[in-house]
Amino acid sequence: MRCLPTDRACAPGSASGTPGFLDIQQVDKIYASAQGSLLALKDINLSIARGEFISIVGPSGCGKSTLLKCIAGLEPVSRGRLTLEGSAIDAPPRDMGVVFQRDLLLEWRNILDNVLVAAEFHGMSRRDFEARARELLGLFGLADFLHRYPRELSGGMRQRVSICRALLRDPQLLLMDEPFGALDPFTRDELNAELQRTWLATGKTVVFITHSIAEAVYLGTRVVIMARGPGRIDQVVPVDIERPRGLDVRETPEFVAYVKHIRDRFRQLGIYKD
């Protein structure tokens, strides 16, 4: 393992001097309310290269979802700069897909139409995207369910549909906010493997938020450890495990070492009290 907690090269924001694909510089996010202001994110620095898979892991309340909302252009930052390919993010970027924690499917549309809604919302012709939608749904094993309604599908299948919707327009940037948090462990394993396969095949830049340390290590090229009070990046851990990673990789000593390192760090931060 290359990275140790004391290793300065692993400190946040020290990736390099060259601008990344997605740059987060000295970002603060403050929520003002009648009771006073809440510092949700403090001095976030992260430079993400094109084609990286960034896993962000941290406890509830560490601001990881807030950070994702800022990157998605859904929330303005209070200080600092957020840029995608050099231009500031002040509204949801066009070249981006987002997968939310809940699948957010439209119950009144069948599966194919749920994927195509991404094109409709963008003001693009459905016809131009129908072949791609069918292909994507086929890749995720849903070819036989095109004309079914969401309520006829299991939770895992529904979340697959929402991933297809995010991928429809082939965006360079894919943001995922705890997408597998509500799924059972078997389905979660399956979707982890499918997501890795998709990422390897397409080379998209992914920012993936999770509560699960193992999931973060399994998928990420780097794992960002976030701490709370205020929400901040504690450490960035590059994951040097060969791809494609089979599910069994999680029992190898090197994988276990990464997980242990991250868990130890959370223990030091006072997240675990065992």
Partner: protein, 258 residues
């Protein structure tokens, strides 16, 4: 198939119960010698209808048309106003507050005003039907359009959806169950409004038939009109239910009937 059978069985039970009640009614009227102008026997009511079926059916159609026009107007204006109220803070504070206040007024009391303003033809009847039916439709539509999951709106935003697309592709379909709930109340209200209009403006319709029959103590005709009103009310409600079932196959409330 199972569904069809259980449905038939349920209808069968219903039919038998109704027939038993009618038989009891008939029996009581004859046994206690109740006079015709107080409570006519079912056979007398049927005979009364068969004496002039054409006239009574024509009056039913008249009432039905007035109700449908009033209800149609209420749907169009109610949903239109609801969209305005949901999208405009100004309309929400002014129009909506005003309408909620107006809703507290017994609208039946406004019927004579409409006769003064609109005369005694169909117009005042349609207006009263519309006025009574619009409130449940408007209030339920506002509620439905507003109760959208904020995450759903975030999903639309990251997909660059315009306001119009959010309305037609998310808010409106999402509000449909609520809109139908309002319409099902509204259709019964529209019929009430029509009858009130016919009482006040006169001229035609089952309300007019009842009023004239009452004047000459022609109780069997009153009952014929009531039976026809009952048929109109049930039929229009059922029609809405059929449309709802067609449109809302996806909704949880329809799940058990499929």
């Amino acid at each position: 198939m199972k569904y069809v059978w259980s449905n038939l069985a349920r209808r069968w039970e219903m039919l038998v119960t109704t027939l038993v009640l009618l038989a009891l009614w008939e029996l009581c009227v004859h046994a206690f010698g109740i006079r015709n102008f107080l409570l006519p026997a079912p056979s007398a009511i049927a005979a009364q209808f068969l004496a002039a079926p054409g006239y009574l059916l024509a009056q039913s159609v008249d009432t039905l048309v007035t109700t449908a026009l009033g209800f149609g107007l209420a749907v169009v204006l109610g949903i239109g106003a609801a969209i305005g109220i949901v999208y405009s803070r100004f309309l929400d504070r002014t129009l909506y507050s005003l309408l909620v206040a107006l809703n507290a007024v017994p609208k039946v009391a406004l019927a004579p005003l409409f006769v003064i303003w609109l005369g005694t033809e169909a117009a005042p009847k349609v207006a009263i039907a519309m006025l009574i039916a619009i409130f449940p439709i408007l209030i339920d539509t506002v509620l439905g359009l507003r109760s959208v999951d904020p995450d759903m709106l975030a999903m639309a935003r990251v997909n660059q959806a315009s306001k119009a697309k959010v309305l037609w592709k998310i808010r409106f379909p999402n509000a449909l169950p609520s809109i139908f709930a309002g319409m099902k109340v509204g259709i019964s209200f529209a019929l009430v409004g029509t009858i009130v209009g016919e009482f006040v403006a006169g001229g035609s319709g089952l309300g007019h038939v009842i009023l004239v029959a009452q004047g000459s103590f022609d109780t069997p005709t009153v009952f014929v009109a009531l039976v026809l009103l009952c048929v109109l009310g049930v039929a229009s409600f059922k029609l809405l239910e059929v449309i709802e079932r067609r449109l809302l196959v996806w909704h949880a409330s329809q799940a058990e009937s499929h």
